[in-house]
């Protein structure tokens, strides 16, 4: 399929990625190589790039465009001279997370973990940390989708065992 589109596109090699729900994405090679998982797929087998479709089991097609956009922008930031000002990177990162629900953030963390890209994973986990910092127990439970399986007595006991952690906190 890469050869058929070569008439219109330039010489940039493309790699086909297949999201968990079966949708295909054609991605420029340098962008695809940002993902360690994809990179390791081709180690010692570089010729296969043209006709192989790389299955990405934990990445839904919903998040692929955003994730690819992140790689493209951040690799451009790294290459730029002089380096981009912190505000520009911050603005991009903020826009990236805008309108993303907690659930979507979690899914993207899973995807970044699967794709094995440290930069994206660090950025997303930090975002998750910022969303739950100093929030109530109930809020954090909802955030991670945790069901409270403690009996009230058990919960009270554990609270007492770790009383210092709750000192001065407002309960709600």
């Amino acid at each position: 399929m890469a050869s058929s589109s070569s008439s219109s596109s330039t010489q940039v090699k493309k790699i086909t990625l297949k999201a968990a729900d079966g949708k295909h994405f054609e991605v420029e090679e340098p962008v695809a190589m940002e993902m360690e998982t994809v990179k390791s797929f081709f180690v010692g087998n570089e010729d296969a790039m043209k006709d192989m479709v790389v299955p990405l089991l934990n990445v839904s097609s919903e998040h692929m465009p955003a994730i690819l956009d992140f790689y493209r922008n951040h690799s451009e930031f790294r290459k730029r001279t002089p380096p981009p000002p912190a505000e520009e990177v911050k603005a991009f990162n903020e826009a990236f997370l805008e309108n993303k629900s907690d659930e979507q953030l979690m899914e993207m963390i899973m995807a970044a973990n699967f794709l094995n890209t440290k930069e994206l994973l660090n950025f997303l986990t930090e975002a998750a940390a910022n969303r739950i910092k100093n929030k109530s127990v109930e809020y954090v439970r909802a955030f991670f989708g945790i069901e409270n399986d403690f009996t009230p007595e058990e919960e009270a006991r554990i609270r007492a065992e770790n009383e210092w952690a709750f000192d001065g906190l407002d309960e709600d």
């Binding site: 968990a20 839904s60 001279t81 899973m110 986990t125 989708g145 069901e147 403690f150 554990i158 952690a165």
Partner: protein, 391 residues
């Protein structure tokens, strides 16, 4: 530990049941990014979560999160006792509002040292002696002045508000130091020259180095990137930095823009009219020339001026230059000073025309767009500026 073992589930389940499948190491990492007090608090979320916090790789203790030092001490004891005996990456201690006792300090540092920590970030005024015999520290952020070279493995050093001793070559002994940041540091006394020498230094950032007198002499043969944030251009000498690639200078000149006397009354050749503002301007220009002389070895130089009123911190890039071979480095200082002066006067005029400066500020393109613009116009501009500005 009664944590149930998580098995890798088949793909369909991961899709439908992602909530419970965030891998443990990611949860540990997220909890490591927060105040340890909060991380410990997650033990009440559910049975699964009861012991997650014991695997955090960073300890972050903040004195002001606790009512008194006894509770703080009890909390720390509890955490150190229950944390799994894994390697510790980082220790953060924030005691900005009140001092913490020697007892707490030695307890925490003994633990951190025995767990091989590599990174320390603290605003403690005194660090315990045991730390100075520890040989594995790689990153240090501190407000204390001491012999940093006792940490042979140190690669990153960030100093805040430190009073440096001008008689000592403070960083020369830090043989592995690659990144150095000096934030609002000062030099004791009124010495003429302050030396920064570091054999392996790659990046250096100096922000608001307070002494306005004297000269900073940087001897770092491997230094590649230098960032300077300053109110006015300092006197620099970087002749020994033979690998220097990029210098970014951000200046926030302290001047009064509220009236137009500077530019109307003042002429460089006739000092008769000078008042305080004119003097400021003159000094700024002279300093700019002197600073550029000190960094003429660099391959690429960007200079941005922030002339906005305090509420908007938008910067205006005034100079981005790639030094090529035939560039007359001796004239760099004058050229930059000329361009900067012109920008100063342009901007000042605009600010006056539009006393609601916010409007004018919004029209400024981003620094990147400005750099692109600059690259197009700077070479001819440079040739133009090479001729003597005084006529």
């Amino acid at each position: 530990m009664e944590r149930p073992c998580k098995k890798v589930k088949i793909i369909d389940e991961i899709q439908s049941d992602w909530l419970s499948n965030l891998p443990d190491h990611i949860i540990h990492h997220i909890l490591s990014l927060m105040d340890t007090k909060f991380a410990v608090g997650t033990c009440v979320l559910s049975k699964n979560w009861r012991y997650y916090w014991t695997n955090i790789h960073t300890l972050s203790f903040c004195r002001s999160s606790f009512v008194d030092s006894q509770v703080f001490y009890d909390f720390i004891t509890h955490v150190l006792h229950h944390r799994n005996h894994l390697k510790l990456l980082k220790l953060e201690i924030d005691c900005s509002k009140s001092a913490i006792s020697d007892k707490i300090t030695s307890l925490v540092f003994e633990y951190a040292i025995s767990h091989g920590f590599e990174e320390l970030d603290t605003n403690m005024i005194y660090l315990p002696k045991t730390l100075f015999r520890y040989k594995s520290l790689k990153t240090l952020k501190t407000v204390c002045y001491f012999k940093y070279s006792c940490f042979a493995t140190l690669t990153t050093l960030e100093l805040y508000y430190v009073m440096l001793d001008p008689k000592k070559d403070t960083f020369a002994g830090c043989l592995n130091l690659q990144n150095l940041q000096l934030i609002q540091c000062d030099v004791e006394g009124v010495s003429g020259v302050y030396n920064i020498s570091a054999p392996r230094l790659l990046t250096l950032q100096i922000s608001d180095f307070l002494p306005s007198r004297g000269r900073i002499v940087i001897k770092a043969p491997r230094l590649k990137f230098f960032t300077l944030n300053a109110i006015n251009p300092p006197r620099l000498s970087m002749d020994r930095c033979r690998s220097l690639e990029k210098v970014n200078v951000h200046l926030f000149p302290f001047m009064d823009y509220d009236d137009n006397t500077i530019f109307n009354k003042f002429s460089f050749n006739h000092m008769a009219y000078y008042d305080d503002k004119a003097m400021q301007y003159y000094v700024f220009r002279m300093r700019m020339i002197a600073m550029c002389r000190g960094i003429s070895r660099v391959k690429s130089l960007t200079l941005s001026l922030n002339l906005s009123h305090q509420e908007t911190w938008k910067e205006k890039l005034v100079f981005a230059f790639h030094m090529d071979e035939d560039f007359d480095r001796k004239k760099l200082g004058r050229a930059v000073a000329e361009i900067a002066s012109e920008e100063l006067s342009d901007l000042q005029k605009r600010l006056l025309e539009d006393s609601r400066s916010a409007v004018a500020e919004k029209e400024l393109p981003s620094i990147e767009e400005q750099i692109l613009e600059m690259k197009k116009i700077v070479p001819p501009l440079w040739k133009m500026k090479a001729k003597t500005p005084r006529s």
